[in-house]
Symmetry: C2
Subunit: 507 residues, 2 copies
Amino acid sequence: MHPILVAGQWRNAAAEGSFEAFDPTTGESLGDAYPVSGWEDCEQALAAADAAAAATRGMSGEVFGGFLEAYAQRLEDAAPAICQMAARETALPVSPRLADVEMPRTTDQLRQAAAAAKSGSWRRPEWDAERNIGSCFGPLGPVFVLGPNNFPLAFNPISGGDFASAIAAGNPVIAKSHPAHPGTTRLLAEQAAAAADESSLPAGFVQLLHGVSPQDGCRTVADPRTAALAFTGSRRGGLALKAAADAAGKPAYLEMSGANPVMLLPDALAERGEELIAEVAGSCLLAAGQFCTGPKLLGLLAGKGATDLIDALRADFAGRPPAVVLAESVVHGLGQAVSELVAAGAELLAGGQPVSEPGFRCPPTLLSASAEQVLANPEAFDVDLFGPATLTVVASDETQLLALAEKAPASLAASIYSAADGSEESLALELMKRLRLRAGRLINDGMPTGVAVSPAMNHGGPYPSTGHPGFSAVGMPVSIHRFAKLDCYDRVRPDRLPDCLRAAAGV
Amino acid sequence: MHPILVAGQWRNAAAEGSFEAFDPTTGESLGDAYPVSGWEDCEQALAAADAAAAATRGMSGEVFGGFLEAYAQRLEDAAPAICQMAARETALPVSPRLADVEMPRTTDQLRQAAAAAKSGSWRRPEWDAERNIGSCFGPLGPVFVLGPNNFPLAFNPISGGDFASAIAAGNPVIAKSHPAHPGTTRLLAEQAAAAADESSLPAGFVQLLHGVSPQDGCRTVADPRTAALAFTGSRRGGLALKAAADAAGKPAYLEMSGANPVMLLPDALAERGEELIAEVAGSCLLAAGQFCTGPKLLGLLAGKGATDLIDALRADFAGRPPAVVLAESVVHGLGQAVSELVAAGAELLAGGQPVSEPGFRCPPTLLSASAEQVLANPEAFDVDLFGPATLTVVASDETQLLALAEKAPASLAASIYSAADGSEESLALELMKRLRLRAGRLINDGMPTGVAVSPAMNHGGPYPSTGHPGFSAVGMPVSIHRFAKLDCYDRVRPDRLPDCLRAAAGV
């Protein structure tokens, strides 16, 4: 049984059980056993995180930035082994995905977080010289981080954006492995632990548990020593943890994805329908449809363009082999979601049936419904199509399309394709107004998959796509603000102020 | 029965009951009846707010700023009548409080909010030219605002900081009167309604209900048409509304005050003990101890300075007449809180007994306990002393004083008085580190009452002094961010961008 990382030591868990990772291509166990920790381990991790928070109070951002840089360098050095392990556990290809895209994105995020930690850009100092009052953001305390299955590196709880942004603000992290890739998480954590040691961070600043029961997870969130929760994953898991955080008055940052509606207007389809077929199909089926920004709802106006697009997508989807997905739970979850849509009246155009090949596979699945059906029962159509599946929705007129936008499921992103010549401007603007309320990021003439690590990014959105509409999970320094509290200093003696306020005050 | 303001009309409520305001100096009803609305009124207000949000989508900040300015001007013109009514309902003096301080603060807040709305400073545009991505804060939707009893103007739900900041971001407000001053709120709302008409804001942008049942309050918070909750008041009321907001995934900004600990170190007392007695007593008893930043816990190190301060405060408190408080609920609440402290082992040094004079009055009340007692049972000593009462806590040594700071109740503010010559620097710094986690605003050599309207202010703090540690209820533009969502525009056509991003992008 693999050890956990608690209080600076790799040690045996006080385990209540164990789990194994699987090779999604075969469905067979990869052999290694990982512990499901009992409360004793959580308690010790909390105590160590609390002590680490106390030991690092007031510490310079140079220390946290130095750690993040050292860690990024170590990940680059260890990348081949880590990417190989991630490929085994997730079936995502080493190339062109894990080694070429996701690992560089991960180290880039860590380095952007390091730069923010060192420069203090996230602290946003405000100085009121007349009144001798200053404020800035400061660290919040230990953050409990749970990551998703679909980005084993860039959203991993011990190397991804939540980790990087929590650490950049000077907060200890207790990470919990996703059960689909504990080996990858372990290899990452080994580098994190070594980098923390080299950077003289206190034991307990970076910790890893492999598994905890749902009850102990909620108890860890609610514990007074936990300052905030960061969760990326399914709505069911996220909402259970959010309830525990809410009851204890803790900020909970949850990223639970959504349908990410894409509206394709007729003149755009007339102009560049052929080109759009490839673009849409590629985005729908990218990484087997397992992006949290995947387009799960295509909104169309009835007509030749819509018919042609749907026919082409049906042929495209039907012509592809079943896709290997991340875990057995994806196969079950998608099967269930497709059944629910069919029960609600959607028509199955391609895929949708169980697959006989070994491993965890889903056929590319295309469904269709009318906007009338969806609008008559929006809750029934708000299902989580995580995996290679997309629902097309055809509106009979513009009014219906606008209503569809207004009632679209809460999402991280939404997109509008319209004629390049501006002939669909007024409809596009009306759609924008409505989609603005349903998604944190609006896109024009592009698909929602692909989330740039930019200070202008919002990887967030209305509830329940996330837990708070004012914060982004991606982008530096913006994502760091989730793990900060606002610290005000009122008539405080100049030599007691934090550096960023002394600089702002010119003392 | 006075009417409510719904959908731009003053109209009769579909009332489930009624209530009256009282003259706190006599305890007698002021005569006018105000309605407790049933769900039908809430439903109509929600429908009108929703329509107003839709009608103002994308509207320029000039409109909201213009309304706030016109409203501020109207309040100045109507100030004599409003302040007179507020004095009748709250027993706060017209001068030197309502007309000289609170009304100017209120109009200043409205004008600062207007300036932020017009300049768009609160939107914080970020532009990433390389990737063609921009983000900025945008309006959230209708905000349900409930204000406290203690600032009938500056924190009134229809004229105070929550109102001003919600409106500045372009959000409709549904305000609910505090039962202690419905007449004041009505007079304010009349000016707000007139200013909204003049500013061509849609009906339903500014609305007023006088009373709603707790159940209908929670249902209003949870309704899909409500975007956020702003509440200032007691912990019990706030937490009930927060639970409703949490379950529905709504941001809830609550300001529920706290003990606001003040640590007075021995050398500071030796240096300027006489001067400090007046400063401390004045702050404790300011407005009959009914500030949310009132110092309810004085932390002292055993010794002559502490003994002298406590003796002087006891004499001062005992020599003052009972203070008129805002409402009968304050008399009951404070009596209960004092009983709880005495039951926990605190000693009553002055006051603490019911008063025989008519009206709502409490005697200035001083209690004392040892740090040992408090640390042995911190929950029992974390009671809400809203009214003219303060607890002194004497630590036997520095270690105990540091522990007291570490376990201090979550607060909006905390202060440290130390020797001017720096002889107590190391203790002061250690106290600062600990109090930093317990209060949103740290003060040196000053009392916590007095909250400047500054962009550097944080009128906020850890749970449960507020609902989120990253936001301030006072200060522009900082308080506006509570009522904003992060809007990202990814490859959006330049002429579809909001103005602030077009400016940032230079298009």
